[in-house]
Amino acid sequence: MALTVEGLAVERGGRLALVAPDFRVERGQAALIAGPNGAGKSTLLRAVAGLVRPLRGRVMLDGAGETGQHAAYAGHLDAVKPALSVRANLASWAALYGASEGVDAALESFGLSHIAASPAAYCSAGQKRRLGLARLLVTGRRVWLLDEPTVSLDAGASADFARIVAAHCAGGGIAVAATHVEMGLPAGPRIDLLPPAAPAADAVDPFLTGAWA
């Protein structure tokens, strides 16, 4: 199993938001996306997940499209409902992804067992982040897309998470992480993104520029 990205570019509001270099991540590897703010790291992850329709290029898993069916995404937002308990939050995601078990194991892995019954509203920012990341485990998906996963995690939790990602990769999974901090992920390709240059000619709708006239 390998995740391949070829010639990917994403347009936003008539402007190129991302021009990604081609890369290939084999099973067991964790790719690292690096680049300054605005280079399109988040956009690249969303495009790989299929949440953003690319202007051109392809994202394939084992030579097939539809990576969204195999990907779990952890973005800037933790998707935590304050009104539900920590456990109910995770259980609702497990049910949505068709997994009935593994909720307690995931809570245990992320050190949330002791607050499982309390409302998520009382969680600290770090605990909410851990709850958001715990969803990765219950989805049972093979490709993890991580957008700045260690934000608001302390050093210990950060190291724990790196170990969880390593275990996921060792089990044949793939991880793609955009991060500014060295968190000790398994080996893998490094994808350096540069902010897209001035709008490319083919990125702009000719009707908008009048080039067709």
Binding site: G50, A79, A95
Partner: protein, 218 residues
């Protein structure tokens, strides 16, 4: 799909007392209108069907802007779209949860509101039946509007402007059925047509809302 339905029902019960808010708004709105137009018993009875239907429309609209927006704001929508169930089914589940927490409770108290508005005794059956047939269309058409305005700041107003005109057929047919029944005529034709509108919404709305969500997500 069932998982999403249960999740939304559970969230609705925890936040805002489930259907209670919409029901209370419905009762309040339909009791305010007669105070505004005066309480003469015979004129009240004549407008009762229309008043109840307009109030049901507004109550339905009240919670509609949170249908996708709440999940969009906390990032849940991304994960719902990545989930194994097709987006069309997810839309259907969310619309069903919306109907169960707003439309269904309205139907339960509608006869009581009818009583206070001096609705003709012959029209109670048609009132409940017309709401039962018509209100699912409100949630379904509303889901399309909610999907179109997801991510729009203060999109609630825009949502109302988009959706209210599309509610017209359901409202006209529902109010017409009640009116015909209250004057002793057969309301069946209006009810059949209202059912047709609901079925058309059931067939088209999930696809339209899913398409709108795909466009809006970036």
């Amino acid at each position: 799909m069932r998982a999403l339905l249960f999740r939304d029902l559970r969230l609705a019960l925890r936040i805002g007392g489930g259907g209670l808010m919409a029901t209370a708004f419905f009762a309040m709105a339909s009791l305010l209108i007669p105070i505004g137009i005066g309480g003469a018993a015979e004129s009240l009875g004549r407008v009762a069907g229309g008043v109840i239907w307009v109030s049901a429309l507004l109550a339905c609209l009240l919670s509609l802007d949170r249908l996708f927006q709440a999940d969009f704001e906390d990032g849940s929508l991304d994960h719902i779209l990545l989930a194994p169930s097709p987006i069309e089914f997810s839309v259907l589940a969310k619309a069903a949860a919306h109907w169960l927490t707003t439309g269904a409770p309205l139907i339960v108290i509608a006869p009581l509101i009818g009583l206070t508005l001096n609705l003709a005794p012959s029209a109670f059956g048609a009132l409940v039946l017309s709401l039962l047939i018509g209100t699912p269309a409100l949630s379904l058409i509303g889901a399309v509007g909610a999907a179109l305005t997801v991510g729009v700041r203060r999109g609630g107003l825009l949502l109302s402007l988009l959706v209210l005109p599309l509610y017209l057929p359901t409202m006209i047919l529902g109010a017409r059925a009640v009116e015909r029944a209250s004057t002793g005529l057969d309301p069946a034709a209006a009810l059949y047509l209202s059912g047709a509108v609901t079925l058309a919404a059931l067939a088209a709305a999930p696809f339209a809302a899913a398409a709108a969500l795909r466009v809006n997500l970036r």
